[in-house]
């Protein structure tokens, strides 16, 4: 073949590529401001993995299921999608039109909406509510059983669910628990249809929600269409939603940059990534929001050396929280204790209250010196260092944090080697207590103390990876749960958080922030202080 022919062949291939690409590159974004909601349009969103267990929200504990399943379902109550803050004051009714606490917070009565239909046309009644919550609390006479029930503990205080009539449901509690309402308002608490076997939600979704599943192409996308029979008149605004499964992070970022996607994945965008996106596409709207996810250290208290409080406290003092936030999170996190601090959360200790807690000393050197003193008291010195294995999930955000921690520990005489655990084996390993010390992330559904404490710090809870058990703290946790006075409850929570840090129960390193990114034409999609609760999409509209 002559040189001319080779050149011609090359030109032909390039020309073919150019011709094929040309029409596709002509997409443009031209947002224009308008505050009156418009109907129509389809929102394109991303998923970083396919739906785990389909739409069966009650059988999973991951944002990868909750986020794409929420548009199909409804709760009794929900945190107002239009308000950033989640508290008892921002709860609105969904399937419940009204609700009322009775008998000094022992009975929670829901008055249900009439005329609501499931996506298959069946009417919604109190029977569905009883079915769902009897199943969740594993009542002896529950008509169905979940294959896995990760949030059973949330309903441990529910004694019975009664349905005096077709549109009233009463939750009878063993003891007062005002925070139950907050857990019922989480994205993790949808109502299932009583006439649909729970297993069916793994493959399809029969909900009452604003959108109906059109197609779920496994490993590829989930597509929704507007539910024309939705019980809120005029909602949803959008004609449809499409969630694309994109495993590769670089492709996800490129897709949002190119305008193929309208919205980032909750909890996905770091500060650095957000800055890169903003530089490339200045019109993108980036909102810093809480993830309600904390970096923390788990230490196995059932095995030496971390059964020794001095060693645990030394570890906690050794880790300079402020340095970690700057070095590992590039400033995309905030300091805090057991619960997210204001304004990112409601219950957490404020910056001023953190002073004096391990890792928050005015001078990091003082914390390190105290840590060394504690280690010396525990019999560890430079000549006789403590050798441990630190485990973490084989995911970049975990490994980066663990690497920082290893360096900090080295400075107080702890020589730690890193062991990365595959994601799929992580929770099981931690629950079994098959580790010495670990670098962990903990996500909490609603920003409520009960949801956090009973799961992560209560004696015997499988998610209490450190196996921490303090009867005094348990009493405090129960007391705050039953406290009806909001101010007193807040004060109790401050005390609990300080006690947990003083016991080095699960030293909290920081609370991560998400830089939630949307194109400017996406309206009314407001990130909350927890990533698990704002995916309903009922109020979202497109100004395209």
């Amino acid at each position: 073949m002559s040189r001319v022919r080779v050149a011609l062949l090359s030109i032909t291939i390039l020309a073919l590529a150019a011709v094929l690409l040309a029409p596709a590159t002509s997409q443009s974004q031209s947002p224009h401001a308008s505050q009156t909601p418009k109907s129509g349009g389809v929102l394109n969103m991303m998923l970083r993995e396919d739906l785990s267990q389909g739409f069966a929200v009650h059988e999973t504990a991951t944002i990868s299921t909750v986020w794409p399943a929420m548009p199909c379902l409804n709760n009794l109550v929900l945190f107002d999608p239009l308000k950033k803050t989640e508290s008892v004051d921002t709860i609105i009714g969904e399937l419940a039109e009204k609700w009322s606490w009775q008998d000094n917070y022992r009975n929670l009565v829901f008055f249900l909406r009439k005329g609501v239909k499931w996506h298959d046309g069946q009417p919604f009644t109190a029977k569905d509510v009883k079915f769902t919550f009897d199943m969740l609390r594993e009542a002896p006479d529950a008509p169905a059983k979940l294959r896995i029930n990760p949030r059973k503990d949330w309903y441990a205080n529910v004694e019975a669910i009664e349905t005096p009539d077709t549109f009233t449901a009463v939750f009878r509690l063993k003891k007062p628990q005002p925070s139950l309402l907050l857990m019922l308002a989480s994205g993790y608490t949808p109502v299932y249809a009583a006439h649909v076997p729970p297993a069916d939600y793994r493959t399809n979704c029969v909900g009452t929600g604003p959108f109906k599943v059109k197609e779920w192409r496994k490993g590829e996308y989930v597509e929704y269409v507007r539910n024309p029979d939705y019980f809120v008149k005029g909602r949803p605004y959008l004609d449809g939603l499409k969630y694309f499964v994109i495993v590769e992070r670089g492709t996800r970022q490129a897709a949002i940059q190119a305008g193929k996607l309208d919205v980032s994945f909750p909890g996905e965008t770091s500060k650095t990534a957000a800055e890169q996106l903003k530089k490339a596409v200045p019109q993108l709207v980036i909102t810093p929001a809480s993830q309600n996810v904390a970096d923390n250290i788990i230490m196995n208290m059932k095995k030496p050396p971390f059964d020794n409080l001095k060693v645990r406290l030394a570890v906690s003092h050794a880790i300079d929280r402020r340095a970690l936030i700057q070095a590992v999170q590039q400033g995309g996190a905030v300091g805090g204790a057991g619960l997210a601090p204001k304004p990112w959360g409601f219950w957490g200790l404020a910056e001023k209250d953190l002073v004096g807690l391990p890792g928050y000393g005015a001078k990091p050197a003082d914390d390190k010196a105290l840590a060394k003193k504690l280690m010396a008291e525990a019999g560890v010195s430079r000549e006789k260092p403590l050798k441990v294995e630190i485990v973490t999930r084989a995911i970049a955000v975990y490994v980066d944090m663990a690497s920082f921690v290893i360096n900090e520990l080295k400075q107080i005489g702890i020589e730690a080697t890193l062991k990365q655990i595959e994601t799929a084996q992580w929770h099981a390993m931690a629950t079994r207590g098959d580790y010495q010390i670990g670098a962990n992330l903990t996500g909490i559904g609603p920003d409520d103390p009960d949801a956090n404490y009973y799961e992560n710090y209560a004696c015997g809870s499988p998610r209490n990876y450190s196996q921490y058990c303090n009867e005094e703290v348990m009493k405090m946790i129960d007391a705050q749960s039953q406290e009806l006075d909001a101010k007193k409850r807040l004060a109790l929570n401050f005390a609990i958080q300080k006690k947990l840090e003083a016991d080095a129960a699960r030293p909290i390193l920081d609370w991560k922030l998400d830089y939630f990114t949307v194109w400017p034409h996406v309206k009314n999609l407001i990130p909350h202080q927890s990533i698990y609760n704002f995916g309903r999409m009922q109020e979202v509209w497109s100004d395209k």
Binding site: M1, R3, V6, L9, L16, A17, L20, L21, P23, A24, T25, Q27, E49, D50, S52, Q53, G54, E59, T60, A61, T62, S64, T65, R147, I148, N149, P150, A199, R202, T203, R217, K218, G219, E220, Y221, F244, V245, I246, V247, E248, G250, T251, A254, A255, Q257, A258, G259, K260, L261, A280, E422, T423, A424, Q425, W426, H427, A428, T431, P462, R463
Partner: protein, 317 residues
């Protein structure tokens, strides 16, 4: 010929049987508790839940029973049920197969279209500037991993054109042009690397043939360069090239993981990796068997092609 093919098919069946044992055993030898892994997103599975799930999935039975059951299912065309999706495995695997086959075929086509002509030119113009340039071109292709090239393509597209290919599979019956765009870029990224290998094999093989007596005779007879190179030399130099093409195609069926991931193509390789991470036995076992079948068939096809290209090749009966 028929006897040879029959013999090869019998050997292929035995190979597949061996493969089935290996993949079945390897999956069970992988560390970790399958229920913990499958349901890791739930955070914690209690012992009683675990027991019930193992019974439900049929993995509480002895291994040999599970193996025999799987083979029986395959023979009856039933691939079992995906653990993760709770749906027949065939329903999940079926849409993946054409995506990977098309991408592998297109990549191989690009590899041949680029590799063979550049290899011939490089051999014919040995030690000229053009030869050096083409060798550099092929060396670059061999040195650049496909995943890196794929990511660079995506980044260039988004930076310069503010555009990337479709995020989900576009059927050719739905939109032929968009379908072509979707496959063109990944196929070029993968094909470039494969073309480098083909180019180097073509060049060295052709150089060897060009030194043969019958080529000198052809030149002496006064035949044109085109006839000597394309009819006499290249045809005889193609045997190793065909072998490499066959191997590359077979490799691509299972080796497109990163390309499918970066370009977000819902193919076999990307899905297989996910299924392995979830320990979704029915999906993994059947996808690996599919890849094995393709590899065996492409090897058989290459062997058949030897006879077409070189009449001296005889198939033993």
């Amino acid at each position: 010929m028929k006897t040879y093919v029959a013999q090869r098919l019998v050997i292929a069946l035995l190979t597949l049987l061996g493969m089935s044992v290996v993949i079945f055993a390897l999956l069970r030898l992988a560390p970790g508790d399958i229920v913990d892994i499958l349901f890791s997103t739930a955070g914690y599975v209690s012992p009683s839940e675990k027991q019930a799930i193992m019974k439900e999935l049929g993995i509480d039975r002895p291994y040999w029973v599970q193996y025999v059951d799987w083979i029986r299912q395959m023979l009856t065309g039933d691939l079992g049920k995906s653990y993760r999706y709770d749906q027949p495995a065939w329903q999940i695997i079926r849409p993946l197969v054409p995506v990977t086959l098309e991408l592998a075929a297109l990549s191989t086509l690009f590899a041949v279209l680029i590799g063979v002509p550049t290899g011939v030119i490089s051999a014919v113009r040995q030690d000229t500037t053009l030869d050096y340039v083409l060798r550099l071109f092929s060396l670059a292709g061999l040195s650049m991993p496909a995943f890196w090239l794929a990511m660079v393509i995506i980044l260039c597209l988004v930076t310069w054109l503010a555009w990337i290919p479709p995020l989900s599979y576009v059927s050719p019956f739905e939109d032929l042009k968009l379908h072509a765009v979707q496959f063109l870029l990944p196929a070029l990224a993968v094909g470039y690397r494969s073309s480098a290998l083909i180019m180097r094999i073509t060049r060295s093989s052709l150089l060897e043939v060009m030194r043969e007596d019958y080529i000198r005779t052809a030149w002496a007879k006064g035949q044109t360069g085109r006839v000597v190179i394309w009819r006499h030399a290249l045809k005889n130099a193609l045997l190793p090239v065909v072998t490499v093409i066959g191997i590359e195609f077979a490799f691509l069926i299972g080796g497109l993981v990163v390309t499918e991931t970066v370009f977000n193509l819902p193919g076999v390789a990307r899905f297989l990796v996910q299924a392995i991470l979830w320990r979704d036995y029915p999906i993994v076992q059947n996808l690996v068997m599919f890849i094995a079948v393709v590899v065996i068939l492409s090897n058989l096809l290459v062997d058949m092609l030897y006879g077409v290209l070189d009449p001296r090749v005889r198939y033993g009966g």
